[in-house]
Symmetry: C2
Subunit: 551 residues, 2 copies
């Protein structure tokens, strides 16, 4: 029997209509590097989103579910693209400007982007790429930057402001199927071609509701969120959509992602929330230590993308900025877990331990752990397995062209449709996830798993260690053993024996897990999104490029 409830689809156009009317006075503030940032109300963003949709349809001929790409920083125009493109029925395709040029070209060709909206400041990146972007016919340029870089390009070039000027400020948004594609994002896979995840109106809408639940980020129109996590990275963790749903003000850094301007925008604009990966916060911390500022408004700092070192969390606590750990990935929209301590731990010594976990799953994310042999691993807080998840905003496949069957590689999706995250961890009986490794980074030593992340965290808690990465290397006796690669702080002179003793002290690390192989490196190689790039280290080791000491 069907219910008598109205059959109303969950659409991004509804989030836009709501945010730009009921929360019309909320603001998107974009950093300009000049005396004053640029401020635009949600009402204006609403008007301009309608204008942009008219321009895309009427001037550039965007129809149906065409992909429209953005190559942009976090700013008000990018927010307009976020709402205009899906609301009109097209698909927002955010391009990760940190990717190598050949990957970017591959992605644009794969998605068949005919229109690219780009920030002027990114033309030095786009211009040399253009000859390789076969489907691109139109480039729309927004914001400052040298347009002459596009001289001679075989595409039509448009000024964003000219294009939308004079267009109607309302648009008759179509009533779409909520399962229709709304946005897509390619993962920067470390092996093979990039893989596209296609979000639906429904998945983005539900995800936005979850972000706004008190147990997740729980922001309201009394908040301002400093959105450092890029809009080209999993929809900036869903913040532009979630903020329009509840009127949260957005503070957008544009291209000013260096520690000094970030510290300045926090002091001047007084955000109450911020979201970014740990490396950004590491840099900010160093800046604040060197040049103290009043950052006391920033009560909630969401850290995700990779694990937050305990030392960093403590340092932020001391500054009055409360770090909240979260875990997710491109394939999970990305909200997977949020580390809000359970009621019984709040205010106790246990609390910090809970905050260091990846967090707890919301009702809409089902989780299970699978062992190396495919067996189900219990939620006992001790037994590790690969995390698999299921839910209405979790990917069940990858994009394979508009008319092709989606890709469902066996190593990414279970037979019953769950996403294999590639993350290894444990889950406590009360549902807190602690990730210990990427499945591919786990060190398989004599039939047991050694967590590279545990070793790294322990190493990084040593006062002389700036960074440390641990990778598996082949070992005749044990199959694999850990190699510790260490970045020492300036002037530090600790030796490997001392570091090894430090790890063994107080039972931090079990004796059989202690690395024998050690090396000092200048910096840990990073991926385009700032994560440790361990495949580079493994390759350097295999090629004999590291000066390894065996204890």
């Amino acid at each position: 029997m069907l219910s008598t409830v109205q059959d109303v689809p969950l659409l991004i156009s509804r989030i836009l209509a709501h945010g730009s009317t009921i929360h019309g006075t909320s603001q998107v503030t974009t950093w300009t590097g000049e005396a004053e940032p640029h401020r635009r109300s949600f009402a204006e963003v609403g008007d301009r989103s309608a204008q942009l949709a008219h321009a895309l349809r009427e001037d550039l001929g965007v129809v149906g579910d065409e992909r429209v790409a953005t190559l942009m920083w976090n700013n008000a125009e990018h927010v307009e693209a976020y709402f205009a493109i899906p609301s009109m029925g097209a698909i927002l395709h955010t391009l990760n400007l940190r990717l190598p040029a050949e990957q970017l070209a591959w992605i644009v060709n794969h998605a068949a982007d005919r229109v690219v909206i780009a920030n002027g400041s990114l033309l030095p990146l786009l211009a040399p790429l253009l000859p390789h972007l076969k489907p691109v016919e139109h480039v729309v340029v927004a914001g400052p930057g040298d347009r002459s870089l596009l001289a001679g390009a075989s595409v039509q070039v448009h000024e964003y402001e000219d294009l939308i000027a004079g267009k109607p400020t309302t648009y008759d948004w179509p009533e779409l199927d909520e399962r229709q594609a709304a946005a897509m994002c390619y993962t920067s896979g470390t092996t093979g071609d990039p893989k596209g995840v296609v979000y639906s109106h429904r998945s983005i809408y539900l995800h936005s509701m979850q972000v706004n639940m008190t147990q997740s980020m729980g922001l309201t129109d009394q908040d301002t969120s400093l959105v450092v996590v890029p809009q080209f990275h999993v929809n900036a963790w869903g913040l532009p959509h979630a903020t329009f749903m509840t009127g949260v003000n957005m503070l957008m850094p544009d291209r000013f992602l260096q520690p000094a301007p970030l510290a300045e925008m926090i002091e001047r604009e007084k955000p109450t929330h911020a979201a970014a990966v740990p490396t950004i916060w590491q840099g900010l911390l160093a800046e604040l230590n060197a040049n103290p500022r009043d950052v006391s408004t920033l009560g909630q700092v969401t850290i995700g993308g990779s694990a937050c070192p305990p030392s960093l969390m403590k340092a932020f606590d001391d500054l009055g900025m409360r770090v909240c750990h979260a875990w997710g990935m491109t394939e999970t929209s990305p909200l997977g877990t949020v580390a809000r301590p359970p009621a019984h731990a709040v205010g106790t010594e246990e609390e910090f331990g809970y905050r260091l976990t990846q967090g707890r799953f919301p009702a809409s994310v089902e989780a299970r752990l699978t062992g190396p042999g495919g067996e189900r691993i219990p939620w006992d807080g001790e037994s590790a397995g690969e995390l698999e998840v299921r839910g209405p905003w979790i990917a069940g496949a990858y994009y394979n062209g508009p008319d092709a069957e989606p890709l469902r590689p066996d190593d990414k999706f279970s037979e019953d449709g769950w996403l294999k995250t590639g993350d290894v961890g444990v889950i406590s009986p009360d549902g807190f996830l602690t990730l210990t490794d990427r499945a591919k980074d786990v060190i398989k030593s004599g039939g047991e798993w050694i967590s590279s992340v545990d070793l790294e965290n322990a190493l990084m808690s040593h006062p002389d260690v700036a960074e440390a990465a641990v990778v598996a290397v082949p070992d005749e006796k044990w199959g694999e053993r850990p190699l510790a690669t260490v970045v020492l702080k300036e002037g530090a002179s600790t030796d490997f024996e001392a570091l090894r003793s430090f790890l063994a002290d107080e039972g931090k690390i079990a004796k059989w897990q202690l690395p024998e192989r050690w090396t000092v490196i200048e910096a840990v190689p990073k991926t385009s999104v700032g994560k440790f790039d361990k495949k580079v280290l493994r390759r350097q080791y295999a090629e004999g490029g590291l000066d390894v000491t065996k204890l």
Copy 2:
């Protein structure tokens, strides 16, 4: 183009599975009137819900989308029924025990309830009704009460605890269509037959997410919610579902709804949130004034069902209990608006005014105002119209039997499918709704509308007035004019002239809106859910049963 996101339905069984595992230690505490209340963990509720589903299927033969009725107070067993019945695919039908017997019988027959789960304490109500409940074959009795009242009834009688004892504590919940019926609730319409609203798994799931958003109630597992609003009244405003979604503890008053036990349970169990209609809070306030208690934990009090008088809101503020106004109805699941002041008003003199409105619509509830001629009324904060709403948890029809087309009466639903709420009000440019009247209670005087609610609130702010209701009565010259019916406080001797001057003072009420007709009554008649029953007053006036003074 479809997205690559998993197609996972939004089901009540998921809320149950989540709440009973990740929040397994959260508790449902049921007041017993004895030294200790009864405590049951969410994990136990999960086990027992599975047991109840087994019993219903295997022992009572409940199959498909059969309706299973409950005639119960707010307690742990009722929560079990809330989860077991829809999760197994059947439909939870909550019976409003305050309805007149003949309406209850009509409803049970209309819904074709074959099984009724009833509290033992309600057998005095159920037993005499049973001969009129044709479809009922099984009565399952839970909790204390005199079973002998059912002796001789031509139904099978079961003990709840005996029925579920020994059954498996897990159940293979089916993967249903999220649009399938999950629960139903009949409105106690003041005219015509009661009308059934059938909620879906989807509508309840989405509504639960909204309730948990910070801008709505926003509770977490650090909270305990005192659920005074009955579970037979619009799913207790969605609280049992919402609490299982985030682990909020529930404090259930069972049949102890009198001011003294409510005050005692607040002091002893320290809830942080409570939800009830204004009349309950009026009674509690009087009790607390007579017998002061420590109620300081109760930081958030959700008031809905009818408007909260400003004096009551102030009195609760003074006790440290922050009232949050909300508006909704059976047809809206019920969350329609919540009165959280906008950021710019927080901490200013404007704030209290915003809190007195019905509140702001969330993104999922679209609203519009329609004038008497069907014209669209602007959101200018001044022009009144009938409120119409649309959204994924708003009714689009009424139940008309399992195989019949749903009912869509013209006075309840617009041609384009919006719900006509029957409420008249204004909406401010920033989306705050202020209801001034029920459409049928508006006084149409000389082509203008007079709000009966404005008059009532103004009257009730007079120190000698306990309650006041204003109704339209026929007038030769103006069409209709207001009749003021006043309940005076004990010992008060104010006369009508003084009250009329009080209304005119300080521009409270425009001169042309001041009532000429006045009467003193002993109490305002109330409906079964505690609202003013104005049709009784209109009838008494028409029949000459009121002693009216004309000034």
